[in-house]
């Protein structure tokens, strides 16, 4: 089952001030595949994600979704595709409407996209998904600020998954969470994407998180792909010196004599 779902070639993005942030990036994602996009701040990973979703316009290159060229598709024609392409955001506090209850946050998209015909059907679907993401039913009548960070992130995941998308973009979704909560959220996401056969682009600055959830990885730097490959391959035998540098810069939770003094993982100082 190696059917390509998203195929982007030669993507360039130039922001209004004339600064080019992506310089010809090629990315492809197969059905059911989870692809990691990793890089440091300013590498262009978030812009790339937004370009794939047509949230920013590309100045060159093409994006094909499920065989169809969507590079310059007008918004009206994009709309039917929007349900199939979902996003989970970094900060659930900013992406969930604070005035709405969780019930409303989860049911409205279902109604909007006509996925549930009756109120009873909507309620049933929401309840089922709530259980799937291990949130207690009492959450439905709460507002986002009444939930913990991990619970809010699960609401974000539930909202995306309810629409039965083909593709989900997750941008730094665990960077604000504690380790124990992070493990829960990642495990949940992994399970859901397997159950629903989702394709996923998982953007993160954390190589260890990428290694744990992704099949394949793109390492980005300065708006270009520095290295691409299967996680097992890239993490064991990185071809790019930059990937090696990123890996060597991660402090592991075991005493590594000389790690702090080694040159590895440090670029020429400021």
């Amino acid at each position: 089952m190696n059917e390509t779902l998203i195929d982007a070639t030669g993507i360039e993005v130039t922001y209004g001030n004339g600064i080019k942030v992506l310089h010809g990036v090629d990315v492809s994602i197969c059905r059911g595949e989870t692809v990691g996009i990793v890089g440091e701040s300013g590498s262009g990973k978030t812009t790339l994600g937004r370009a794939l979703l047509r949230l920013v316009d590309v100045s060159a290159g093409s994006i094909r979704f499920d065989g169809r060229d969507i590079t310059r598709l007008p918004e009206g024609e994009m709309r039917p595709l929007r349900r199939r392409i979902q996003m989970i955001f970094q900060d659930p506090m900013a992406s969930l409407n604070p005035r709405h209850t969780i019930r409303r946050i989860l049911s409205e998209p279902l109604k909007l996209h006509g996925l549930a015909k009756t109120a009873a059907e909507t309620e049933a679907r929401v309840a089922k998904m709530l259980e799937r993401v291990s949130l207690p039913a009492v959450c439905l009548d709460r507002n986002p600020h009444e939930l913990s960070g991990g619970q809010r992130q699960r609401v974000g995941i539930a909202r995306a998954a309810l629409l039965e998308p083909d593709f989900v973009l997750a941008d730094e979704i665990v960077s604000g969470l504690d380790v124990s909560t992070q493990a829960q959220v990642l495990k949940l996401l992994k399970g859901l994407s397997a159950d629903l056969g989702l394709s996923m682009a998982f953007i993160s600055h954390d190589l260890s998180v990428i290694r744990a959830v992704c099949d394949r990885v793109y390492v980005m730097r300065f708006g270009k792909i520095e290295e691409e490959g299967a996680c097992a391959e890239v993490f064991a035998n990185p071809r790019s010196a930059y990937t090696r540098l990123l890996l060597d810069a991660i402090p592991l939770p075991e005493i590594t004599p000389g790690w702090l003094d080694s040159k590895a993982g440090v670029e020429d100082a400021a």
């Binding site: 504690d178 124990s180 290694r211 744990a212 810069a249 075991e254 005493i255 440090v266």
Partner: protein, 286 residues
């Protein structure tokens, strides 16, 4: 026998906002001169509260209900406020978490670095400037003259963090509290900053408390570690012992929850509910 540099003894604190909910429960720890200690825990563990208590900046909503914080034998909790301010201002310094907000955006670096040198050390403007230049060189800033004239927004995040490290060590404090000093930085910059703090700590013989959630940072920088949960010390000891042979189930579970790029098949094990239940029973939470 001289007193340790810092000794926290059965410190208890409550939140006056949440009906007196306990924030710290009988916290005790000791820090020797020149020692590097990691204060670790997930959010709500109380690590920041301890750091704030040490710096005398506890919010009004937190009330210390018992225990002592002894710095070279003197209890900070019972000291007159003027004496307390002088002691903290001279001997305890902070490296803050967010280099974006910790500097005053409207003042040049020179003014911000020399304030304490003039006010606490009584240096003239000229002497303070010379000392600030030296400090910037010590934190490996290549063009210290330019940085002194710069405003914070003209510097990168890593540069700002270097300035803040220079500022923390400016008065030769005996204790530096580093509050998640690398959380906001890229991983390659993080390593430089960790090394810099370690180098400064060794050169100046300063004791450092690293407040962090990252057991990797602890492993590479700290002599000893104290792990907190819900305001209680769960495990404490030499870093090597705690990481290689953790005694508490929670410590083990935390180590198993963190993903590791070098061990794709381990990590990502959520802390089992039974561990949290046992923890809560141990602490005396419902």
């Amino acid at each position: 026998m001289t007193a340790p540099l810092l000794s926290i003894e059965n410190l208890n604190a409550i939140s006056t906002r949440e009906n007196g909910a306990p924030i710290l429960r009988d916290v005790s720890l000791t820090l020797e001169r020149g020692e590097v200690l990691g204060l670790v825990g997930e959010s709500g563990a109380g690590k920041s509260t301890i750091a704030k208590a040490l710096l005398g900046i506890l919010p009004r909503t937190v009330q210390v209900t018992g225990g002592a914080i002894r710095f070279e034998g003197r209890d900070l909790m019972t000291m007159p406020s003027r004496a307390l301010r002088d002691l903290i201002g001279t001997h305890i310094a902070l490296i803050p978490q967010d280099p974006q907000t910790a500097l005053n955006p409207g003042r040049r670096i020179e003014a911000q670095l020399t304030d304490a040198l003039r006010l606490r050390r009584g240096l003239s403007s000229k002497e303070a400037r010379a000392r600030a230049l030296k400090l910037l060189q010590e934190v490996h800033i290549r063009d210290p003259e330019r940085v002194l004239r710069a405003y914070p927004h003209e510097l990168s995040g890593g540069m700002r963090q270097r300035v803040l490290i220079a500022s923390a060590f400016a008065l030769e404090p005996k204790l530096v509290v580093a509050d998640e000093p690398t959380t906001a930085l890229d991983v390659t910059v993080q390593k430089q900053i960790l090394r810099l703090i370690r180098d400064m700590q060794r050169t100046h013989g300063t004791a450092v408390i690293f407040v962090t959630h990252d057991l990797g940072v602890v492993a590479q920088t700290c002599d000893s570690v104290t792990l907190l949960y819900a305001g209680k010390v769960i495990e404490a000891g030499r870093t090597a012992d705690v990481l290689t042979a953790p005694r508490h189930a929670y410590t083990k579970a935390l180590l198993a929850a963190g993903p590791r790029y070098d061990r794709p098949d381990s990590g990502l094990e959520p802390v089992p509910p039974s561990v949290f239940e046992a923890l809560r029973a141990e602490i005396g939470l419902g």
